[in-house]
């Protein structure tokens, strides 16, 4: 009889087995190990010792919101606090509904587990916010973030209470309308303080990505449905649009948006550069969303439509109640991926349209008299890359979480 050893190998054994099994393994380990250590040390040295980060802290406002007038900053603060409340309400309502339906993931977790769950999800964002705050020397941003946080917590608590209740359908419908109106209002409120044309810095990247996402989704959905339509003309137009837009680089479209409008519209009527950027983002992303949604529609088995038809549902209701919900659920990760690339692609608008977005501002500040000719572009680019990475990484993690969640119980 053979006995099987189940003792855990010691660290040394593990290293020998996994890193130095053959001479080739040993060489690879040594080469790439030293490379990794070297890069790691140089990176750490750059971030903590050699990097001259005062260019960021001095210009933080310019990087974040561009030349937004100081006495109008309160508008951003108010909008953010409202949005914090809004996001909290939505999170609360969703969590409450899950409790009511018994599908909650966090119910039954201890308070500590919940905190660590939230920490894993949003720790990176919170840490980044704290880092940014630590670079400021005024109390305004601190107060803004504090009140936004408080708004979020209050919203979460109220939302949780609303979510566990079963409301009459007219109340929930009204609620949905209110939840849609709130962010639109916040957007318009900020635009009334400072015209859209003057939105700059990271604010431009974030807000125009958000606007692009919100506007491109319905358009993409319509295009996907158009592509499946039995009406030849509609189908043809949808296909032509999708293929034409997907065949062009976004940068080219943005350059075109910059110059070509003057041919058609008198200069006085032509929309501002920011609006042009948002319109281009929307038209571009919609074509991709259309293809993603089409894939989703194809992934729904034919039997679903047949069953819906057999139950007497009209074609519109078959689509709206049976096919679309399943199709969209299947392609949530792909859609979020598309939105992540839109978020990063907003930097192209800075170059193509000459908007002082985060990337352009990062370049511009290296030309200030205090910093000129010192090679500080590395610091500023690293900072820009870091902010986009935090945003993209967080979105991608949330997408994976959503995917896991939807995989359970409801296919």
């Amino acid at each position: 009889m053979t006995t099987v050893s189940v003792t855990k190998p010691s660290a040394l054994t593990w290293v020998r087995r996994n890193l130095f099994r053959t001479p080739l393994d040993a060489i690879l380990t040594i080469v790439f190990g030293s490379l990794a250590v070297y890069v790691g040390i140089r990176g750490l040295l750059f971030v903590f010792v050699n990097g001259r980060w005062e260019i960021i802290s001095v210009n933080l406002k310019l990087l974040m919101v561009g030349r937004w007038p100081a006495d109008e900053l309160i508008a951003i603060a108010v909008a953010l606090v409202i949005l914090g409340l809004w996001a909290g309400l939505i999170a609360g309502i969703i969590a409450g509904r899950q409790v009511r339906k018994g599908t909650s993931a966090i119910e039954g977790m201890t308070r500590l587990e919940r905190a660590s769950d939230l920490g894993r999800r949003f720790g990176l964002v919170i840490a980044t916010l704290l880092l940014l705050l630590s670079l400021t020397d005024t109390s305004g941003p601190w107060l803004m973030v504090l009140f936004t946080f408080v708004g979020g917590v209050v919203g979460r608590l109220i939302g949780g209470q609303i979510g566990v209740r079963s409301l009459p359908s007219w109340v929930s419908r009204l609620g949905i309308v209110v939840m849609v109106v709130i962010p639109v209002w916040a957007y318009l409120y900020m635009a009334s303080a400072v015209p859209l044309a003057d939105w700059e810095g990271f604010l431009f990247n974030l807000s125009s990505a958000a606007a692009g996402v919100v506007l491109s989704f319905p358009l993409g959905l319509l295009l996907a449905l158009g592509r499946r339509s039995k009406l030849k003309l509609l189908k043809g137009m949808s296909i032509a649009y999708i293929e034409a837009v997907r065949g062009a680089p976004l940068y080219v479209l943005l350059l075109l948006a910059n110059v070509s409008l003057e041919f058609f519209v008198p200069a006085a009527l032509a929309p501002s550069k920011v609006v042009r950027a948002i319109v281009t983002f929307t038209l571009f992303t919609a074509a991709y969303i259309a293809e993603i949604v089409r894939g989703g529609l194809q992934s729904v088995p034919l039997g679903q439509e047949e069953a819906a038809k057999a139950l007497g549902l009209s074609p519109t209701k078959q689509m709206r109640l049976i096919v679309l919900p399943q199709a969209l659920r299947n392609v949530i990760p792909a859609q979020i991926g598309q939105f992540i690339s839109l978020f990063k692609d907003t930097t192209l608008a800075g170059l193509a349209l000459g908007i002082l977005d985060l990337l352009n501002a990062a370049g511009a500040i290296t030309q200030q008299s205090d910093f000129r000719g010192q090679g500080l572009i590395i610091e500023t680019l690293v900072f820009v890359g870091f902010l986009f990475w935090v945003g993209s990484f967080t979105m991608s993690r949330e997408s994976q979480r959503l995917e896991r969640k939807l995989g359970v119980g409801t296919r």
Partner: protein, 248 residues
């Protein structure tokens, strides 16, 4: 007396392949008709033609003497009088059992949530599924899913039920519970057309058995006539294979 359902000279082909050629069928009120025949003989297509899921090329389909395959007839109106159950269940995976069942009563027949819910609970109770009411379909066994699908079709009080090989996708030990439900419906006097490979069931339950072969009703009659004294060589051959397989 006009039959509940009459199929006259129905022809259907997909591209070049003729699936139904000149099919005739008459189903009286409260009658159970079983369609037997090998796979690809046209049983499923015939049922889908009757439910207007598949348009026919020629012929007539009459429900209570009224031509329903006519262009002037609204198919949704006709479908509301029939229920169909599919081989692959086709439950809606994003909805609970209750939502699956009450969808059509609420969205098509305009019933209130409470009214539709009550009827759903009545049916679920009858078929021993009441404890599954708020489950999602993928949490149920195949037999349970198929029984829910039958309840869903019954929820709108159809006058005619169509069953399209409803036990073919089930594990053998789950077949009985589904057939039991159909037997129960026969006792209620439901008019049914059942496409099936379960010959024992067809023999026990059918008032009329039709043998389909290559898109034609080759032979039809009482179960006794078909199973004990088949006239056509093809029918005998088919039944012999079933017997050899130990399924009759």
């Amino acid at each position: 007396m006009t039959p509940k359902l009459e199929v006259r000279n129905v022809v259907k082909s997909f591209d070049d392949k003729v699936v139904l050629q000149q099919v005739d069928l008459a189903v009286g009120l409260h009658e159970v008709v079983c369609l037997i025949g090998s796979s690809g003989s046209g049983k499923s297509t015939l049922l889908k033609c009757i439910n207007l899921l598949v348009p026919i090329d020629a012929g007539d389909i009459l429900l209570d003497g009224r031509a329903i395959a006519d262009r002037s007839v609204n198919p949704n109106e006709v479908r509301q009088k029939m229920g169909i159950v599919f081989q692959a269940f086709n439950l809606f995976p994003h909805m609970t059992v209750l939502a699956n069942i009450t969808l059509s009563p609420i969205k098509v027949h305009g019933q209130s949530k409470a009214e539709a819910g009550e009827r759903a609970m009545e049916l679920l109770e009858r078929f021993g599924l009441l404890d599954k009411i708020s489950e999602y379909p993928d949490r149920l066994s195949g037999g349970q899913q198929q029984r829910v699908a039958i309840v869903r079709a019954l929820a709108t009080n159809p006058e005619l039920m169509l069953f399209d090989e409803v036990t073919s996708a089930l594990d053998p030990e789950l077949v009985a519970e589904v057939l039991e439900v159909i037997r129960g419906l026969k006792d209620d006097g439901m008019t049914m057309v059942v496409a099936t490979h379960e010959m024992g069931f067809a023999r026990d339950v059918a008032d009329q058995v039709c043998f389909l072969d290559d898109g034609v009703v080759l032979e039809s009659g009482t179960p006794k006539q078909i199973f004990s004294n088949p006239q056509k060589p093809r029918t005998r051959q088919f039944l012999q294979r079933i017997v050899d397989a130990g399924r009759l």
